[in-house]
Subunit: 415 residues, 2 copies
C-alpha cells in the first residue's frame, strides 16, 4: 500500500486524557481513534493487526475442533433473567426499546450459547461440543483505563464447551491451555496460567492467562522451573518462597496482565436452561460447561506495552500491519525514483505485504513515522542504493544489513 494513500497520519501528541502507553502509541501512529473512555475505533493499520491476532486464535480454535459461530450481541432479557445474571452482573448494559422490551448487550455469551447447545446436543454422542466466536463485548465499567486493555467495548474470542463428565472438562482445559500458550507465543507474548478466584458468574474455579508486563493490573508469583503460577490476590505464596509444586526453585514476583481466562462453570447454566443430554445408560444428565475467553483487542494492547521503545511500537512479525516498510529517499533523483517504484511493484508481485512511503517528506520525518508505526523491517532506497546494495534495517534492534535487489525479491529483507 502507498503511504500517500493511507488516510491516517501520525501525530506528535496523544489526547491529554490518555495515560496508557498502548493507547498513546496506537493513537499517535494512527492505529486507533478514541471515541470516549474505553471505546476505540480501529483504523486501517489497527484493523490489519487485529485481523492477524484473530487469525492466530481462530486457527488454534479450529485445530482443536471448536466450531465458529457469530452469536447475537443484542440479547433478549429472558435468558439473563433465567440465570439470575440480569440483576447479578453489575457490568451488564441494559436497554429499553421503544416498545418497552428489555434487552441486554452481550458481556459474555453463556445465555446465548447454552440454549444453542441445548438444541443440538441431545446425547452423550454429541459431546464434547465446543463452539466459539470472535466478536464485540460490552461492559458497563465504572472506570475505563489502560487504553485498549480494558474497554467498555472490546474484542474477544469466547469459547463455550460442553462435557459429559468433569474428567472430560479437565482434559479439554489442558487442550485449550496448550492452544492458548501457542497463540500467545505466536503473538510475541509469554503467557502463564494461574489459578484464581471465581468470577461473579462462576460456581467453581477459574483460571487466568497472564502475560508478564509492567503495564499489568495484577501481581503474580511464578516458578521458572515448573509451570506453577498464582495470582497473589488469592495465594498465600510470596516472592522467594520455595515453589510448592516442584520444590525446585524459589518463586519470582512480577506485574502481569490478564489476557485470557477459563471458567469451569459446572452445571449452573444447563440447570438454568433445563439442558440435559442422554448418557450411555439412557439417563438424563446435565453437562459440565466451560467458558474460555481470549481478549483480542486486549492482546493487541499488551503487545504494544511489551514491544515498544522510546521511538514507537515494535510489532512482532506475526501481527505486524505490514511485513516490510519500503522508504523512498530518492529525493530529486528521477532514476532512483524509478528504481524504488519498480521495486515496489516487484515486491507486490512477489506477494510481499509492503507499506511504501512514497510521500514527499524529509528523511527525518519518514524515519520517525516508520519507527512509530513499528513495521519489523525497513528497506531504504536513497542516493547510495544500487541493485547490488540496498539498506535493510531491523526495527527491534536497529541492525542494518545490505542486500541485493534480487535477494530482496526472494525475501531477504527478512533477517
Amino acid at each position: 500500500m502507498r503511504q500517500s494513500h493511507l488516510f491516517t497520519k501520525t501525530r506528535k501528541e496523544a489526547p491529554a486524557d490518555e495515560v496508557s502507553k498502548n493507547a498513546q502509541l496506537l493513537i499517535r501512529a494512527g492505529f486507533v481513534h478514541k471515541e470516549m473512555a474505553g471505546v476505540y475505533s480501529y483504523l486501517p493499520l489497527g484493523v490489519r493487526v487485529l485481523s492477524k491476532i484473530e487469525g492466530i486464535i481462530r486457527r488454534e480454535m479450529n485445530a482443536i475442533g471448536a466450531q465458529e459461530n457469530r452469536f447475537a450481541t443484542l440479547h433478549p432479557s429472558e435468558p439473563w433473567k433465567q440465570t439470575g445474571a440480569w440483576d447479578g452482573v453489575d457490568v451488564l448494559f441494559k436497554i429499553m426499546s421503544r416498545t418497552e422490551k428489555e434487552y441486554a448487550l452481550g458481556q459474555s455469551e453463556e445465555e446465548i450459547a447454552t440454549p444453542i447447545a441445548k438444541e443440538y446436543a441431545l446425547s452423550y454422542k454429541d459431546l464434547p461440543l465446543a463452539i466459539y466466536q470472535i466478536g464485540q463485548k460490552y461492559r458497563d465499567e465504572l472506570r475505563a483505563k489502560s487504553g485498549i486493555m480494558r474497554g467498555r467495548e472490546f474484542g474477544m474470542k469466547d469459547l463455550y464447551s460442553f462435557h459429559a463428565t468433569q474428567e472430560d472438562f479437565d482434559r479439554y482445559y489442558r487442550v485449550v491451555q496448550e492452544a492458548y500458550f501457542r497463540a500467545f507465543s505466536e503473538c510475541g507474548l509469554i503467557a502463564k496460567a494461574t489459578e484464581a478466584s471465581g468470577g461473579s458468574f462462576s460456581e467453581k474455579l477459574s483460571y487466568e492467562f497472564m502475560v508478564l508486563t509492567d503495564a499489568g493490573e495484577d501481581d503474580i508469583v511464578y516458578c521458572d522451573t515448573c509451570s506453577h503460577c498464582a495470582n497473589v490476590e488469592v495465594s498465600s505464596e510470596a516472592e522467594g518462597d520455595l515453589c510448592t509444586k516442584c520444590g525446585q526453585s524459589t518463586l519470582k514476583k512480577a506485574r502481569a496482565s490478564e489476557v485470557g481466562n477459563v471458567f469451569d462453570l459446572g452445571q449452573k447454566y444447563p440447570k438454568a436452561f433445563d439442558f440435559t443430554f442422554t448418557d450411555a445408560h439412557g439417563e438424563a444428565q446435565y453437562p459440565i460447561v466451560g467458558c474460555f475467553g481470549f481478549g483480542t483487542t486486549r492482546t493487541m494492547g499488551v503487545i504494544v506495552e511489551k514491544h515498544a521503545d522510546a521511538a514507537g511500537i515494535v510489532w512482532p512479525e506475526s501481527v505486524a500491519p505490514f511485513a516490510v516498510h519500503l522508504v523512498d529517499l530518492s529525493g530529486s533523483d528521477s532514476d532512483k525514483k524509478e528504481f524504488v517504484e519498480a521495486l515496489y511493484s516487484d515486491l507486490l508481485r512477489a506477494g510481499t505485504d509492503v507499506l511504501y512511503d512514497d510521500r514527499d517528506l524529509r528523511a527525518g520525518e519518514k524515519f520517525a513515522d516508520s519507527d512509530l508505526i513499528g513495521i519489523p523491517f525497513r528497506i531504504v532506497i536513497g542516493k547510495q542504493s544500487t541493485p547490488d546494495s540496498i539498506e535493510v534495517v531491523r526495527r527491534k534492534d536497529g541492525t542494518v544489513t545490505k542486500v541485493s535487489r534480487d535477494a530482496i525479491l526472494k525475501g531477504a529483507w527478512h533477517f
Copy 2:
C-alpha cells in the same frame, strides 16, 4: 469437514412464529438460530456464507480505493446530539450507564466517521477520502419481520466518502454503483439502482439498490432496455408506460427488496462537526459526504429467497458454505467405505472445500439434508461407484453426470 462433527442438525420444522421463507429455511438447515424477533445468531454454516458475502464486498471496496476500518458500535451521545439525530432518529437505541452517561448503539456511523475524517482530511489533497467497515448495526424497529432481511441487529458494509466538490461525489457514486452491481451479481443477484426519497438523516437525494424478489417490500418499475428504475412510492411512472429515459421500451413492474443504498448527505455532517478542508485557493470549505450501505445479512436473506426450491436452499457457488457435498452411501460395504474416506482425504489435499456426510443414516435422510443445506454439487459414493464412474449431482437443476475419481480430484465435480 465431516458432517458427523458439524454440531448443527437439520430440523423438520422452523419455529411457529417464523413466517419468512429465508428464516424458515436457514433455521431448518442449521445456518442461523433465532434469539428473538429480528435477532439471529449465525451458526457454522451461516458464518461460512456470511464470510463469503463479506469477502466479495470487501474486495470490491478495496478495489475502488476505500480503506477498511472497524468503527465503535457503542457511541457517546455527544456527536448524536450535535447532529440532531439523538432526538431525530426513532430507531436509535439509547443506553444509560451505571454512571448515568448516555450512549447510543450505531444504526449508521456518520457520527463516528465524520469526526475521524475531520482529523485526517485537512486539505483538498487528502480528498476524496473513502472509509468503510463491515460490522453490526442496531435498529429499534417497532416490528421485525422478513427473517434476516430486516433485523434489530444486522450486518452491514457501510462506506463514508468525503469529496471536495459535488461533481466528485457524482463521479464516485457511479464508481461505487458499478462495484455494487459487480458484488450483487457475484452473489447471484440482479440489482437495479433506483432514485428514491431521502431518509430521515438525508438532506438530499438517496438511491436504492433493489433486487427483484417476490419477498421484497417495495414495488419498482424498470426498463429492460436501459438502466432506468424507480420506486413506485416516489415515482409517477406506472407499468406499461414508455420509459422516460430511453423511450425504447415500456416499463415492467416487480416486487423488490432493498439490499443497498446511497445517501448524498451534502454538507450536513461536516457543518455539524465544523469540518472544513483547505481548497486549492487556501479557502476553508465543507466537504460533500456520501454514505453507501450494503446489507450483508440482508443479502444472505435475499439470496435464500431468490435461490430456493421446494426441497431447500440452492446456494450460488460464490457464497455456498462448501463447494461440494460428498455423501457416503457405502452402507456395510467396507471396501466402498475405504474408497470414500480416501476420496475425502484426497479432496482436502486438492484444496477442495468439502462437507463429507459420513453419518450413519439412510440415503433418503442424507439426500433430504443435502437438498435442504443446498451445497451446489453433490458427489455420491454408493455400491455402484467405481474409480471410473462416480455420480455427481448439480443441486440447482438435479442434472446428474458420471465422472472418474481422477477427474473429480482435478475439479471435475464442478460442471
